[in-house]
């Protein structure tokens, strides 16, 4: 099939020419990031502290009950004084939409803020590596020295302590997750008396194993090879997106300090490789934007420290947009960027929907289902009878008594529902209603019919449901 005449002249050598530059982090070399202080390090601690809510939230009480509780067996979601039933699940959809779009919006404005400061993978990894570097040294050289040192009591106790601390954090992570779905205090008791339910053990086991392996051993490999978000970032960025970037025009050609003096022929970068040493994913920011960059800004802290020491202006590595770096002008303001505007609009709509949902939670859910088989029945006096199934869910915390009525159809009478219907809190009540219409009153095959459920005993509620009355043609 290949015509020899048109065969490409490119040799295989050319195709693979760049291969020696490929640097694929597949976990072969362990990344031991140096820890330095700075603005972004502080910001990262602040972002990480948001996760305290995850650990402490379940112990919050409200009206003597757990303030936030996903009660799966009873299919209820308690959020402070509000109880959400599965019928209101559309609010969850909007909440998820809100956070999904928020992720995209933030990425479009300032890159992977979530990855750098909030993501559980990077946050837990950061805590795990903090423990590790404290015990085993905070540079690849020190870590290697620790590793190659002969086994001693001191070394063994350090390794044991590290894994013990990792496991404690992992188990707390699992326990805290489970605590959102059941009473937190009871859960602790159940775990310690070995009485916890099977799902609780499974959650604890999976989260402990997952945290221990993901944060302890896989680390940045998860960001590189498991996380889909890293793969999507290039479509969420544009030329206005602020990203930690190396100002190559200022930095190049890089070169070491000679006798502690700056060489005016060279750029600002003194090739100290501090930006590489502090990077938790082991990339070199000077090679430009790449998939491994979680935009945590730690390289900015490192470079600024060096710039200060060498008496150069800070910001060789800084948060900058593509436009700023290449065209020397500022990024477009946020409100002039259509992408951000559209994201913002969706955010407002979904947020508004959730707020509307929470403020307009109906205390009941009313449904009328007409019988389909048969659509209508002729009675002995010639009148036509339709059958309906009425379902009413009591979402209040109190029992209610309901009176059903019909309206909107001249001559129609309701049968079989003379008594008040009593409904327990949280329960769905189902009754059958029969509606009859005199033969003389029938003038069309389908007539609108309105069912009304009025709460007699309980809160003042009246709900309508528009249904149909079917008759022969």
């Amino acid at each position: 099939m290949t015509d020899p005449e048109h065969r490409s002249n490119i040799s295989t050598i050319d195709i693979y020419e760049e291969v020696s530059d490929w640097d694929v982090n597949a976990g072969g070399d362990k990344v031991v990031a140096k820890r330095m202080t700075g603005r972004f390090r502080k910001l990262k601690w602040f972002g990480m502290s948001v996760w305290l809510v995850y650990f402490l939230g379940p112990y919050l009480r409200w009206d003597g009950q757990q303030a936030v509780l996903f009660d799966i067996p009873n299919r209820q979601f308690h959020f402070f004084s509000v109880t959400v039933y599965p019928q209101d699940i559309w609010m969850l959809s909007l909440t998820l939409l809100f956070f999904a779009i928020l992720l995209a919006a933030v990425t479009s404005i300032a890159g992977r803020v979530f990855c750098g400061y909030f993501c559980f993978q990077t946050v837990w990894t950061d805590v795990y590596t903090w423990i590790e570097t404290r015990l085993e040294g905070d540079s690849p050289q020190k870590a290697m020295k620790f590793k190659s040192a002969p086994m001693s009591l001191g070394k063994l106790s350090r390794i044991t302590l590290k894994h013990a601390l990792w496991l404690i954090i992992a188990m707390l992570t699992g326990l805290s997750f489970a605590a959102w779905f059941t009473d937190a205090f009871q859960l602790w008791k159940d775990y310690f008396t070995l009485q916890a339910a099977m799902p609780a053990w499974i959650v604890l086991g999976m989260f402990t194993a997952g945290t221990y392996v993901f944060a302890g051993f896989m680390r940045e490999q998860v960001c590189f090879w498991l996380c889909p978000y890293a793969r999507l970032q290039s479509v969420m960025y544009d030329q206005d997106t602020l990203l930690p970037a190396y100002d190559a025009e200022r930095g190049e050609p890089r070169g070491k300090l000679k006798k502690g003096q700056l060489d005016s022929a060279k750029g600002s970068c003194i090739d100290c490789r501090m930006c590489v040493a502090v990077c938790p994913t082991g990339i070199d920011i000077r090679k430009g934007q790449q998939e491994g960059c979680i935009t945590c800004g730690l390289c900015i802290d490192a470079c600024d420290t060096i710039m200060e020491k060498t008496n150069q202006p800070k910001g060789l590595v800084r948060y900058a947009s593509y436009k700023e770096l290449h065209h020397k002008h500022e990024a477009a303001p946020i409100f002039k960027r259509p992408r951000v505007m559209i994201y913002g609009l969706i955010l407002m709509i979904s947020c508004g929907g959730v707020v509307y949902g929470f403020t307009n939670l109906t205390p009941t859910e009313f449904n009328v289902m007409p019988e389909r088989q048969p659509l209508y029945v002729q009675l002995s006096d010639g009148s036509i009878q339709n059958k309906y199934t009425l379902r009413l869910l009591n979402k209040t915390q109190h029992p209610i008594e309901v009176q059903y009525q019909i309206s909107g159809l001249e001559g129609a009478t309701l049968h079989g529902l003379d008594d008040l219907v009593y409904i327990e809190p949280g329960r769905m009540n189902q009754v059958i209603a029969l509606v009859r219409l005199e033969e003389e009153a029938i003038n069309q095959a389908i007539s609108p019919l309105i069912f009304t459920a009025e709460v007699i005993e309980g809160p003042d509620i009246q709900i309508r449901y528009e249904s149909m009355f079917m008759a022969p043609n």
Partner: protein
């Protein structure tokens, strides 16, 4: 993870080349190789645990002893365990008590659909409405041949019904037949004439259908003055019923309309209780029990809830 960072130009190839792309002889990554062997191991474990290798008769059984039918039975046991408390209570309740209890009534209406479908729907239709013109009684209207109270429905289900109307072919002239057909149709529309009533009484129809033609539930004789037709309101069909009757063994063209009994033993028991006698004296040992007493009660409630129950 094995990484092949070797320069492709230094790696030997298989000699296969396509548009400059060579097939190298790099080994696959180690994790991939391990996964392959692990999945092979999984197949082996599966073969040992589950039925797998087909033999001449049947197959290997596997260590777990798993079969599809066992899984089905386990599922069935699960649902029966959920239903058991309800079914136990049902057995101790009368049909009337079930009807009066919201929870039990809802349970019966929801859980009896299959039972009804298996035993009743073939004639009476899925929703109690038979195919028009099929001649089976409608269950969801307010017209009952033998009574629409829950107890009467239980009785009908248990003992079955076979109404009897003699054929009148030998008793009526052609003209009288025409007049009676017209009378029956008029009566249904509330337009019966004096002459019609006269003929109705003369021919003895009142004996079963009553002096006011409103029927007799003791005999299962239908009401002729309402809008519901037991068979059909078409003049030719009305004529056939008058001339050849229903379940008249002497007339080969008669209509056959027999509802089988689904628990004759229960029917006999109910009859004995009505007279205050011991049912044991009534049984003759030939009574059939196609459905249990509880099933009869469930079906009675289900039918009652079609919308016509009284």
């Amino acid at each position: 993870m094995a990484d092949n960072k070797n320069n492709p130009n230094e790696v030997s190839d298989t000699g296969h080349e396509w548009d400059g792309i060579r097939e190298l002889e790099n080994p696959p990554p180690r994790w991939w190789t391990i996964s392959l062997y692990l999945s092979g191991l999984l197949v082996l474990v599966y073969f040992i645990l589950y039925p797998s290798i087909p033999l001449v008769t049947g197959s290997t059984k596997g260590l777990l002893g798993w079969t599809q039918i066992k899984e089905y039975h386990r599922g069935l046991e699960e649902i029966e365990a959920i239903r058991a408390p309800f079914e136990q209570r049902l057995a101790e309740m009368t049909a009337q008590e079930i009807l009066d209890d919201d929870e039990m009534r809802n349970y019966v209406v929801a859980s009896t659909r299959v039972l009804y479908g298996d035993n009743c729907a073939a004639c009476h239709g899925v929703g109690g409405q038979p195919v028009p013109g099929s001649g089976y009684p409608i269950l969801n209207n307010d017209d009952w041949l033998y009574g629409g109270t829950i107890d009467k429905i239980v009785e009908t289900l248990a003992g079955g019904r076979a109404g009897m109307m003699p054929g009148h072919a030998n008793l009526l002239t052609e003209e009288e037949t025409d007049k009676l057909v017209k009378f029956v149709i008029d009566a249904s529309n509330g337009e019966a004439t004096e002459a019609g009533w006269k003929l109705y009484n003369e021919k003895g129809c009142f004996a079963c259908h009553g002096a006011d033609a409103k029927g007799n539930q003791m005999l299962g004789a239908p009401n002729l003055t309402d809008r519901i037709w037991r068979f059909s309101g078409e003049p030719a069909e009305v004529r056939r019923t008058i001339l050849h009757g229903v379940n008249d063994a002497s007339d080969p063209r008669t209509r056959i309309a027999i509802m089988p009994g689904f628990n004759e033993r229960l029917a006999v028991k109910l009859e004995a209780e009505e007279f205050g006698d011991d049912p044991e004296d009534y049984y003759d040992g030939t009574e059939t029990e196609r459905l249990s007493e509880t099933e009869i009660k469930k079906l009675a409630v289900f039918v009652h809830q079609f919308g016509g129950g009284q």
